[in-house]
């Protein structure tokens, strides 16, 4: 048993024993020895608490809190990515932050590499050694997805996305996708009859909806039965948000996405673009 697991079990147990939480949401072994998400209510149960394999619990936490009574306080045991997802859900008013505590732990090296995760650690880790993240753009497998010119990339992605079965797994697994109804089920945006899903309407609309909220947990591509590297669609937008506005989803609780916020209102006189310029010449933050 890893030390991380040990610490987590212990802390979860204390929380429940001390009455600081009414429930702990985490993976656990049931009596058939199957690992699956489970809500621990008693301190003595935590012996069967597990933290492997990677399993995003954010949405589950949201639903648990929704269904539980108002006074119910939940502790969620999660990884860095899941913690960021929870924060995004809080920012989007899906979770009442006052009813939830987070017991988060750092991922192992091999997990980080498997996920190509740039931040395999939570903001304030309760257990585990903090390790350096992986730069996905440095990884050959990933970089190859973005390599070459538009033609090649278009061909490549055509090939990749044409495997799509349209199982909606990517959407369902995504911890941020919470809308009902969803545009992806609306004929206006995506013809439901078309399989494989039309690349542009289905995949790009889905991808863009998460442009400024994706926490790069990779749940979408983990969930994809035909192994489309969906995370690659997100990471580029994530990177440019970081470069342009220093914004990363899931890190700052009180900062709205820069794609929603206006520029500084006090626009200096005459500081406009020359006539009909193309946006690339646009001054950004004024």
């Amino acid at each position: 048993m890893t030390s991380t697991l040990k610490t987590i079990r212990e802390k979860a147990g204390n929380l429940l024993a001390g009455g600081l939480a009414d429930g702990v949401l985490c993976l656990g072994r049931d009596r058939f020895n199957v690992v699956q998400p489970r809500l621990f209510r008693k301190a003595e149960e935590v012996g069967s608490l597990e933290i492997e394999p990677k399993w995003n619990l954010a949405k589950l936490a949201m639903q648990t809190l929704r269904s539980a009574e108002k006074s119910f306080r939940l502790t969620v045991v999660c990884r860095g990515c899941d913690e960021r997802a929870l924060l995004e859900l809080v920012k989007r008013n899906q979770i009442d932050a006052f009813r939830m505590t987070i017991l988060s732990y750092t991922c192992g090296r091999e997990q980080a590499e498997a996920c190509l995760c740039a931040r395999p650690y939570p903001e304030n880790s309760a257990a585990g050694e903090k390790i350096e993240g992986v730069d996905p753009f440095g990884d050959p497998r990933f970089a190859s997805l973005l390599a070459e010119d538009d033609q090649e990339r278009m061909a490549r992605w055509t090939g990749l996305l044409s495997r799509c079965l349209k199982c909606y797994g990517c959407r369902n697994a995504c911890p941020i996708c919470v809308c009902t109804p969803c545009k992806l089920e609306d004929d206006l945006w995506v013809e439901r009859s078309a399989v494989p899903a039309e690349m542009i309407p289905y995949h790009l609309i889905r991808a863009f909806h998460l442009s400024d909220t994706c926490v790069a947990c990779g749940a979408c591509q983990d969930a994809c039965p035909v192994g489309i590297p969906l995370l690659a669609l997100q990471l580029v937008m994530r990177r440019s948000l970081k470069e342009k506005y220093g914004y990363e989803a899931g890190l700052e609780a009180d900062r709205k996405s820069p794609l929603l916020m206006d520029f500084d209102h006090a626009s200096p006189a005459g500081l406009t673009l020359p006539a009909w310029t193309v946006s690339s010449e646009a001054p950004h933050e004024r």
Binding site: R92, N93, Q94, K183, L260, M261, H265, A266
Partner: protein, 570 residues
């Protein structure tokens, strides 16, 4: 049965050569929902109105598709005329096939015709889904809030009261007057400030319609044009008022030039305001005095000209000379800011009165020296190119006005923008007294430093704008727009599908969307009065819960799908 009638305009042969109207007519006639297609020689001539109406009525259609010239041309008026006859604007769609098609695709008849066809089909799609939002009407509170009782605020309050409406005049200080209390006389007329002020204050006292709230601040404000709920806090307790319009006239603040020209270090280095106080108290002026303009203005920290410093210095300089004909008065300046004919004459009067003007280069500012008491000023006279040593008994620094510190708070309360210097920012130079929020107006030095006379003018102007709202029994949400036909519509939000993510709240430029608790979750609500129908919210809503009925996603989607249909076919 209800359907669409398409009316195509030949525009007296302006369209025919490029667009095959006959083919167009047949093609559109085959479209579902089209009950009739008319081709007329013209639509915009005075006699055509009847023909159009006749065609529409005989067809029994309930929606109209016009293909004519651009909406900015005559066709726009045609649509307005139709709407004037009681046809809802969302039921009429105008397609521009002249400026937008025939005139720019000369020599490509197939292309132009295909384009015209696509445009018409897009119009049909739009008519099929385009909705119409329900208007909201508020009862206007026949009262007005004026924040700040300076020249601007007093003028506004008195004017509104005279027009017959209740005014709540809120003042931070114990009594009204603002800047006029600090100065001796008013340029360019040299009337005593107190003189100028008295009738105002008397009227504030006497007029039963003016409720004066001294030592009071605005602590909270909600609502919208026609019905603002404002909370006023004072030592005697809080008051809640409901007003139809708000006028912000909080004036500007004075600035102390610490460390500048040895101010605060040498005796008799004064600011303009200190001089004004002395003048008011009737202290006899010094024999020799030097004014230094732009002290702390037009510099990197405050890169603006505060408008009133030059005339004020001129005023005092002339007064010195009048009081004592052999007083030596010098004004050191960078540019004398006396625009217009009155101030220009004022400037000349100072020259005639024997005031000495010396221009200095900001690169070589004057040097004030002395030992305990100011003794002389050394300045490089830029015009004659010589260094001058001026003996003096006092140095007056004419410092700029700076933004009132309360502005930030008020801006936050009323959701109005400030400019880079902290003054209230107007909607547009052409609408200088209006802010981006309907029913909230700005005037006087709170907007931008001005003379008391100009401030009064602006106060009256703002009062006039307020009267336009107060004068109505009811205010319609649709009318909250500059367009004569009213704004496009209002954002509509479906509670059932709103996930409360708050995107619309974050993006709305007018703070029209707000989150409200509904059971355990949040939903967003759009305020129809504040909404200006820019549609920002519809673009960021992740699942299309927010819609602009007149321009909803289905209508736009239909247009996009049909955009190149004909191009594909032919």
């Amino acid at each position: 049965m209800p359907g669409v009638i398409a009316i195509l305009c030949r525009c007296c042969g302006q369209i025919e050569p490029e667009v095959d109207l006959q083919a167009l007519r047949e093609r559109i006639g085959r479209e579902a929902g089209v009950v009739s297609v008319e081709v007329l020689d013209s639509l915009c001539l005075p006699e055509d109105g009847a023909a159009i109406v006749q065609a529409v009525e005989s067809s029994g259609a309930d929606r109209i598709l016009l293909a004519a010239c651009s909406p900015y041309g005559k066709a726009g008026d045609v649509v307005s005329a139709l709407c004037a006859r009681g046809i809802d604007r969302s039921r009429v769609r105008l397609i521009d096939i002249r400026e937008g098609c025939a005139w720019i695709h000369r020599g490509d008849r197939t292309g132009a015709t295909a384009k015209a066809c696509d445009l018409l089909c897009m119009g049909l799609g739009f008519l099929q889904y385009g909705g119409c939002s329900t208007d909201a009407v508020v009862a206007v509170r026949p009262e007005c809030l004026v924040a700040g009782a300076g020249s601007a605020g007093l003028a506004a309050a008195v004017s509104i009261a005279r027009a017959g409406f209740q005014v709540h005049l809120v003042e931070r200080a114990a009594e009204g007057g603002g800047m006029l209390r600090l100065i001796s006389r008013v340029y360019p007329t040299d009337v005593e400030a107190a003189e100028k002020l008295r009738p105002y204050l008397e009227e504030v006292e006497r007029n039963p319609r003016i409720v004066f709230h001294p030592k009071t601040r605005v602590v909270s404000a909600t609502g919208f044009a026609g019905d603002f709920k404002v909370r006023l806090a004072s030592a005697t307790g809080d008051v809640n008022v409901r007003v139809g319009a708000v006028i912000l006239a909080t004036g500007a603040g004075v600035w102390l030039p610490r460390g500048l020209y040895r101010y605060g270090e040498l005796k008799e280095v004064l600011t303009l305001m200190e001089l004004e106080r002395r003048q008011r108290e009737g202290k006899t002026a010094a024999k020799r005095s030097v004014f230094i303009q732009c002290a702390g203005a037009r510099c990197p920290e405050r890169p603006y000209c505060a408008t009133m410093c030059c005339p004020s210095s001129i005023k005092n300089a002339v007064l010195f000379r009048k009081a004592d004909p052999d007083a030596e008065v010098t004004i050191l300046h960078r540019d004398i800011m006396t625009p217009g004919h009155i101030l220009e004459r004022y400037y000349r009067s100072a020259l005639d009165a024997g005031v000495r003007f010396i221009r200095f280069d900001p690169a070589q500012p004057p040097v004030v020296s002395g030992d305990g008491h100011v003794e002389h000023v050394e300045v490089f006279d830029a015009i004659s190119g010589v260094k001058r040593e001026i003996e003096t008994d006092q140095v007056i620094l004419s410092t700029p006005l700076v933004a009132n510190t309360d502005n930030a708070k008020l801006a936050e309360l009323f959701h109005v923008p400030l400019d880079g210097y902290g003054f209230f920012r107007e909607d547009y130079p052409l609408h200088p007294l209006e802010t981006r929020q309907g029913g909230i107006f700005i005037c006087g030095s709170a907007r931008w430093p001005v003379s008391s006379t100009e401030a009064a003018t602006q106060g009256e102007g703002a009062a006039m704008k307020a009267l336009a709202i107060l004068g109505r029994e009811k205010l319609s949400a649709r009318s909250m727009s500059r367009l004569p036909e009213g704004k496009l519509g209002h954002a509509r939000i479906e509670d059932s599908s709103c996930s409360g993510c708050g995107n619309c709240v974050a993006v709305c430029p007018y703070e029209a969307c707000t989150l409200q608790r509904m059971g355990g979750a949040f939903v967003s609500r759009a305020n129809k009065m504040r909404c200006r129908a820019c549609g920002s919210c519809t673009a960021v809503c992740p699942n299309g819960t927010v819609q602009m009925p007149e321009h909803n996603a289905r209508a736009v989607g239909a247009m996009i799908r049909r955009a190149f249909a004909e191009g594909d076919a032919g």
